[in-house]
């Protein structure tokens, strides 16, 4: 089974909540998908559970967006494979708050 290490960029409020910097690396086994990245983030930082996805449905919170390689992947299926650039750690998996200005 493949073991992956993925860079994850988190928004400011989740950085302060988890007491981490803007970027972390999470490791996990199996296919590299949005779901597996988020599972690994929540496993490494349990204080973030419920802040990115709904506890029960596991749906993305409405005002959060996911990006990879400059592309909005928020609406892709959670089991869609992530781009190779994330597996090589050239690009991060980005979690951003939507409607950030104003």
């Amino acid at each position: 089974m493949n073991r992956h290490a993925i860079r994850v960029v988190l928004p400011y409020h989740l950085q302060t909540l988890a007491k981490i910097g803007s970027e972390v690396v999470v490791e996990f086994d199996g296919p590299a998908t949005t779901e597996s990245v988020l599972d690994a983030v929540e496993s490494s930082y349990p204080m973030l559970r419920g802040t990115i996805r709904d506890y029960v449905t596991k749906k993305r919170r409405p005002l959060l967006r996911f990006f990879a390689c400059g592309k909005d992947i928020s609406h892709e299926q959670p089991d869609t494979l992530l781009p190779d650039a994330l597996l090589s750690r050239n690009e991060p998996f980005i979690i951003w708050g939507a409607v950030a200005g104003g």
């Binding site: 349990p46 802040t51 506890y55």
Partner: protein, 385 residues
């Protein structure tokens, strides 16, 4: 010498204000949880160093924080890092899941709307056990934790009181008031905007609406059993059957635990408002802050006035010394007023303009503790030995 600790929740963080018993000089600590909305903070009456805080965000949802050292350090109960990858955390302090099939309540336009958890409006620690705490949430429900906020369980019978007909108030369908009867651990009063007031006498197994005597002109049946926009309830611990209410319009009281309410608005300049509080040592002395109207959510005539009744209502006097009496257009939200229990009772309130005021003498004289906080959502006071 006694001291006080004031817990202030704001739209952009929490602040802790401390002073000695004179309540003249203040230390301001904060912002804690900067940038997050702190709906409410409250300390345990059993262990004052145990403080619970409701932290939330439209983006990131609900977080529960707990301090065991009087607010110096905080933790998310159950949110601690686990010792090894893949291990499960011990709790889920921000997991609020309605019991069973949540069903629907009524939306603003009268159509059914799914019950959705949004945030914790109010935290009410038990007067006898620092590990027990209740949470009033939006969409309206009451949850209880027996493990210091690590896990939560709904008391679902409340929503069986025609919850499918409950409709949100302007601020949402929030359960904002929880009063625990200090003489009877099985009795709890709650209030919901805009469903009304409810009471349990068996620890939450069953509930009943307690809205008889309320008249709300803005609903189809002004005397309806449910549907009243109750803004706040308050009681004195020595007389838990006597409850005071700031209704949307009208200030009310009951002398029989909510079986019948009577109007005590009396000579108030306007009887719309949000907070209501009872003096710590005088059960018939109560305080409200009249707001001009439900269309104009600011104080009446540009004057910030607290009104006090020493007769349990009906006869009110304006308290103005030290409060702005011109060009003031702030609001005081329902959870943003509190009292201490020092010998001359201290009265505190926070405004939507970011000021926190104190009166160290029952309301006779006022001064501002801090001017320029973010919008104040809640104020609680701890009287420390």
């Amino acid at each position: 010498m006694s001291s006080v600790r004031v817990l202030v929740g704001t739209a952009k963080g929490a602040f802790i204000l401390t002073s000695d018993g004179k309540r003249e000089k203040w230390e301001i600590e904060g912002p804690l949880f900067a940038g997050w909305t702190i709906y409410h903070m409250k300390g345990s009456p059993v262990d004052p160093d145990r403080i619970y805080a409701s932290q939330c965000s439209d983006w990131f949802g609900q977080v529960l924080q707990r301090s065991s050292d009087g607010g110096k350090t905080w933790q998310q109960p159950g949110g601690e890092a686990v010792p090894e990858m893949g291990a499960m955390p011990t709790g889920a302090s921000n997991k609020f899941v309605y019991d069973g099939d949540a069903g629907t309540h009524m939306w603003f336009d009268g159509t059914p709307h799914p019950w959705e958890f949004k945030r914790v409006w109010h935290l009410e620690p038990s007067p006898t056990d620092s590990e027990i705490v209740y949470a009033g949430v939006e969409d309206a429900a009451i949850f209880r934790s027996d493990d210091g906020a690590m896990t939560w369980k709904e008391l679902p019978a409340l929503r069986s009181q025609r919850g499918s007909e409950w409709q949100p108030g302007a601020g949402g369908l929030g359960l904002h008031t929880i009063l625990l009867d200090p003489t009877n651990p099985l009795r709890i009063y709650v209030a919901i905007s805009a469903a009304g007031a409810f009471r349990t006498d068996d620890g939450g197994t069953t509930w009943k609406p307690i809205n008889r005597g309320l008249k709300s002109k803005y609903i189809p049946d002004p005397d309806a059993e449910i549907g009243h926009c109750v803004h706040r309830l308050a009681l004195h611990p020595s007389r838990p059957d006597v409850v005071f209410m700031q209704l949307h319009w009208n200030v009310m009281r009951t002398d029989n635990a909510g079986e019948l309410w009577t109007n005590i608005s009396g000579n108030l300049p306007t009887d719309f408002g949000f907070p209501i509080e009872v003096h710590a040592h005088e059960p018939e002395t109560i305080y409200v802050v009249p707001i001009k109207s439900d269309s104009e959510h600011f104080v009446h005539e540009g004057k910030l006035r607290v009104f006090r009744s020493r007769t349990g209502g009906t006869e009110w006097e304006a308290l103005t010394k030290g409060l702005p009496q011109r060009d003031c257009y702030v609001n005081i939200l329902r959870d943003a007023m509190a009292t201490d229990s020092l010998d001359r009772c201290g009265i505190y309130f926070g405004t939507t303009g970011g000021q926190v005021y104190v009166s160290p003498d029952d309301g006779d004289n006022w001064s501002v503790i801090v001017h320029d906080l973010p919008r104040v959502l809640s104020v609680e006071v701890q009287t420390l030995p």
